[in-house]
Amino acid sequence: MDALDLARWQFGITTVYHFLFVPLTIGLSFLVAGFQTVWVRTGNPAYLRLTRFYGELFLINFALGIVTGIVQEFQFGMNWSTYSRFVGDIFGAPLAIEGLLAFFLESTFLGLWIFGWDRLPKRIHLATIWIAAIGTVLSAYFILTANAWMQNPVGFTFNEAAGRAELTDFVAVLTNPLAVITFLHTIVAALLTAGAFVAAIALWRIARRPGPDDAAFRSAARIGAVTVLVAGLLVFVTGDQQARVMTSVQPMKMAAAEALYETSQPASFSLFTIGTLDGSRELFSIRVPDVLSFLATGDFNGRVEGINDLQAGYQNLYGPGDYRPIIPITYWTFRLMIGAGALAAVAAAWMLWLLRRGSFRPNRWIVAMAIVLPFLPLAANSLGWIFTELGRQPWIVFGLMWTSAGVSPGTSSLEVAITLLTFTLLYGGLAVVEVELLLRRIRAGLPPEPGPGGTTGDEAERPAAFAY
């Protein structure tokens, strides 16, 4: 493998890994803030204990999201310096703004939240977690703006003399239709992810560790399951809209998602397709008539362009080359993403059915569901991300720059190999530690109700029990 391949693997591995933690962090920040709000408003101690229980899990997860995020910020310059020179005038701004507006907010106010339990008035302390939650959403918006620009570059001009893309309309970058819809899709997916996490853990506790806290966990399970269903519906709606925007700005990606080789009107939605190995035509498929036309255009009789026509068109436009992504990957990631998300919604509906009268008789199917459920949205998130990034290939910036042209010219394959190997091993090790810590906390159950706290007038700081 050369430096380019290694740099691509590194970006893929570090980004997918980072994105395992990010949606959970975004979604959980809101659910934990919600629990705490209920506690502050009603004084019900069960919600304080839920806040602390899920807050701990949230923080374990947040730690890894943060540290793996630093790699993302450095990686563009380290491995993709030619890309950075080419897009910096446009792409750098959302990244810098993300740091200034969002990262400071998240890190500072989470610090206040973690250590401020005994230091801050109740309502101000509650505000800190809400502000941190808003920070996570701002962060998502700006980074997705940057990513959407790579998918659908807008508001720029190509400066021939400088050999780079230059910003002409920042508002156009911020209101890129693909950015807006991708942002909405990602945020509701994050809520789905967190809902599944909260519900599944609560259900597991009720089924496997029944006890005095069952009532509190039943509330958590219901809240989580309802979150999954509501968010699931919104994921579906936003995903549908996103597919339409994608069809208009990146038709090749939509065609590749469907392995639609020939332009069709109307186009059927494929449930299962096997194509030839070189990816030029299909051998076998099971199809639902007209559905792809609707997905892509909003009209059951809409015309959807096929891979072969698009390839020919791009060759005319951009010169000779292969403009097709790896079809089996785009095809399967797209399908499995939808499948995993839908399965999570089904599981949540089943859970609400079980809880309709309060208690239920646990059996091993229910336990199995509780164990599998948190992983379904995580899988869907990763698959969606892999789909959207690999579906953009061979471009790093659609229509402007090939991925192969963006890599750092002076960086040797040995250097990239060293960093790739180290990050992969380090991330793998940390994943083991994180899962182990999460399981330990989940087994420990709800923390005891804290005694009357508050230090007033003491000379010394008393770090909260929540702290390190």
Partner: protein
């Protein structure tokens, strides 16, 4: 003033913010095994930076992001050129960040000692490597006509670079010791005070040699004045530490680091990355910058939000202004959770 100059100043400001703030939490991390002699003491040491270290670290993310936005060529050359040192910094920051969050989550001693080691190494490496990086930026490194760095790791490990690393290490250790003296009580406070006195003397020698060498390499009158002021602030800090005036000592070390960074940036200007291959290949505030339009937008954003950030980060320090006392630490969370 040209916007490119404004942004050169803003980037200097972000690095000042980063190195002053994370400087003391690096120092605290390095001193963890020295000053924290028992598990309880180490918890107290970590508790002094617990609420703030993560917010401090964001400064480097914003410095990196702002460099990308305002000077893409600088960002690209620096990050691809200083590849392995930055990689080591990343690994260190990952280990360190995770260590702070995870060490208290299990009660057993081996677990905690391992994370303590991660905090130590994760603080030590960046404390040295940032100095190596900045010394090399100021001294100039081989850069070709296409703005590509043509050296390797060993190009950077030259005597001047290594002295830069030693300088930041010594500065941060002193800064961290002074911070610990300011934020703890009793035995810890006394110990931190003594460490600050010793580390401060070493720092004074190393830093003066480094700043003088920098001055000789690339200095002008302005950078000379700033360097002298930095040295004066350090002397002031040491005197204040001696007198047990910890607040003043901390202000002194903070001002020292701030002025030392300013001196480097003043010496650098108008280059951002001088080329040792040929001065004509140097990256400057003008040939490495973004367009006027991008800089205008970034300026508006920075003018609105930077004061806001300073305000709420300042408030955090106010909320957690009290000292951490070992005997006031709560019962061990790890064992409590398992019960």
């Amino acid at each position: 003033m040209e916007l490119t100059t404004v942004w050169f100043g803003l980037i200097a400001f972000l690095w000042v913010g980063y190195l002053v703030l994370e400087g003391f939490d690096f120092g605290v991390g390095i001193l963890l095994p020295v000053i924290g002699r028992s598990e309880r003491e180490r918890r107290a040491v970590i508790a002094t930076i617990g609420p703030v270290w993560d917010g401090n670290e964001v400064w480097v993310l914003v410095a990196g992001g702002a460099t990308f936005a305002a000077f893409p060529e600088w960002y690209a050359t620096l990050f691809s050129g200083f590849y392995l040192p930055l990689f080591l910094i990343l690994v260190a920051l990952i280990l360190r960040g995770v260590a702070f969050e995870f060490r208290g989550k299990r009660p057993d001693a081996t677990w905690r000692l391992r994370w303590d080691a991660a905090i130590f190494i994760g603080s030590l490496l960046p404390a040295i490597l940032w100095g190596v990086a900045f010394a090399n930026i100021v001294a100039g490194v081989p850069i070709d006509a296409k703005h590509e760095f043509t050296g390797d790791l060993f190009t950077l490990l030259n005597p001047f670079g290594l002295l830069g690393g030693l300088t930041t290490l010594a500065l941060f250790v002193t800064h961290g010791a002074v911070f610990l003296a300011l934020k703890t009580t009793g035995e810890l406070r006394a110990r931190a005070n003594r460490v600050a006195a010793i580390a401060g003397l070493v720092t004074a020698v190393v830093a003066v040699v480094f700043l003088a060498w920098t001055q000789q390499q690339r200095g002008d009158t302005a950078s000379l004045i700033v360097s002298v002021l930095a040295a004066a602030a350090l002397v002031g800090a040491l005197v204040a530490n001696r007198l047990g005036r910890e607040g003043w000592a901390f202000i002194g070390t903070a001002v020292t680091i701030a002025l030392a960074v300013v001196a480097l940036f003043v010496a650098l200007f108008p280059d951002v990355m001088p080329s040792s291959t040929d001065a004509a290949f140097s990256l400057t505030t003008t040939n490495a910058s973004s367009t006027e339009y991008t800089l205008q937008i970034m300026t508006v954003v920075a003018v609105i939000f930077t004061p806001l950030v300073l305000l709420y980060q300042g408030w955090t320090y106010w909320v957690f202004r009290r000292r951490v006392a070992v005997d006031q630490l709560p019962a061990d969370e790890g064992t409590e959770g398992a019960a």
